[in-house]
Symmetry: C2
Subunit: 248 residues, 2 copies
């Protein structure tokens, strides 16, 4: 038995998210089908570092699986890039230490939310960034970001129906990066609740638009009240940037 | 009567090029239909600085037309961005001097061809760049570029069936720009024959791959022999960057 670790990138616009579901195109189904074709089996079950929602992109998602037959990593990567649709790419295929699991072994993950602040929409960034006309108050956003860092109960930024596990997560980095008209909100943490990043972004964009004082973000978080958070920002602006593990 | 000048950007992946044709989606048809809806007439005939082929993109194409009714430029721009599909954007709408014609008045145009030199394809650049694994010899490409500058008979880089007008064009700038894995070949000139940029790029990529000596590019050009030029590079890598006019 060989444990494999894949690094995948995808444009999520055409997909109903990572997780396999009947009657909807998903990344997981594409990857499992491609691996099945390569290994000559009906299906290879894979585990990602976590789910991503419909329309969300990945620059480097990590996926693990166990295969019976040994294969060359180089051949697997090349074959996947032939077998997978053009909006999914395999950036790396490597043999992992026995027992490696892409979800259970996560050290931290980084997400990026991209806002395009410009007068007119950009035909090349549709479904890949949130277009806002501005002007946006990014200094206030930067003042609000530290409130999100640390271990917190992020219930205020979660959605109902996801209370099965603890709502406590630790964010180790929350940053605003400006590159011309492109603004990035980046978050690194040990994990994120479903919709958490998009709801934090929605709340921070209320701050950017002057609808919410920067100082109120801490109060929204502390309240645990979902009704006080901003809207869920649209999925097209969100990118899973990378996942880190204890073993390299 | 008001003469208008529009600046448009589009992602050409879904279109059969600029020029209106029956039964195929074209940029011209989208723009004329949107203008017709705005001005309340069946159709407004527009003139672009030139045609672009199927799959080719525009960062700033210029289009002119004449309308009966006066309108606010700001309102026209906003309305077009509502009426046009999401992969076409109006970046500017302005009242032009009487008699302005987007095709006849062109001073020069700039095209960019984008090559992505990296090991694996990028899901976000499919149809927007030519992916090549490399390694590519860009120093040799740079050595070949000056041969294309100046007034030349570009028949060698043209296609048959387009001999109606003179094949002489003047290229004033031919440049290679490297930005990490993204390589740009940029050409500014008073005009380009159909497929000329993509056939020049195809020939330069033969140089980059070591299949053609850099010094041979001048010979291919001088020969006027279409059979000696490289393949036509795929359209997704080509961008009309901008058009200049004598009057600003």
């Amino acid at each position: 038995l060989t444990t494999w670790r894949l690094t995948l990138a995808w444009d999520g616009a055409a997909y109903s998210g990572w997780q396999r579901q009947d009657g909807a195109p998903t990344i997981q189904a594409c990857v499992e089908d491609a691996l099945g074709a390569f290994f000559g089996v009906p299906r290879v079950v894979v585990h990602a570092s976590g789910r991503t929602d419909a329309g969300v992109h990945a620059l480097a998602q990590v996926v693990s699986f166990v295969a019976q037959e040994p294969r060359s990593p180089e051949k697997l990567r090349l074959a996947l890039n032939t077998l997978l649709p053009r909006d999914i790419a395999c950036l790396d295929a490597a043999i992992a230490p026995e027992g490696f699991h892409a979800r259970f072994d996560v050290l931290d993950k980084t997400y990026r939310y991209v806002v395009l602040e410009r007068r007119d929409r950009c035909p090349f960034r549709r479904d890949r960034a949130l277009h806002l006309r501005g002007p946006l108050d990014w200094a206030s956003v930067e003042a609000a970001l530290p409130a999100l860092v640390g271990p917190h109960d992020f219930t205020a930024f979660s959605v109902t129906g996801t209370e099965l596990r603890s709502p406590i997560r630790t964010i180790t980095r929350a940053e605003h990066l400006a590159m011309g008209e492109e603004h990035r909100l980046e978050f690194t943490g040990d994990g994120f609740l479903r919709y958490q990043v998009r709801r934090m972004v929605g709340t921070l964009l209320d701050v950017a638009k002057g609808r919410l004082p920067a100082s109120e973000v801490a109060a929204v978080l502390a309240s645990g009240d979902r009704g006080r958070a901003g809207k869920t920002a649209p999925p097209g602006g969100l990118y899973l940037v990378g996942v880190r593990y204890a073993s390299p």
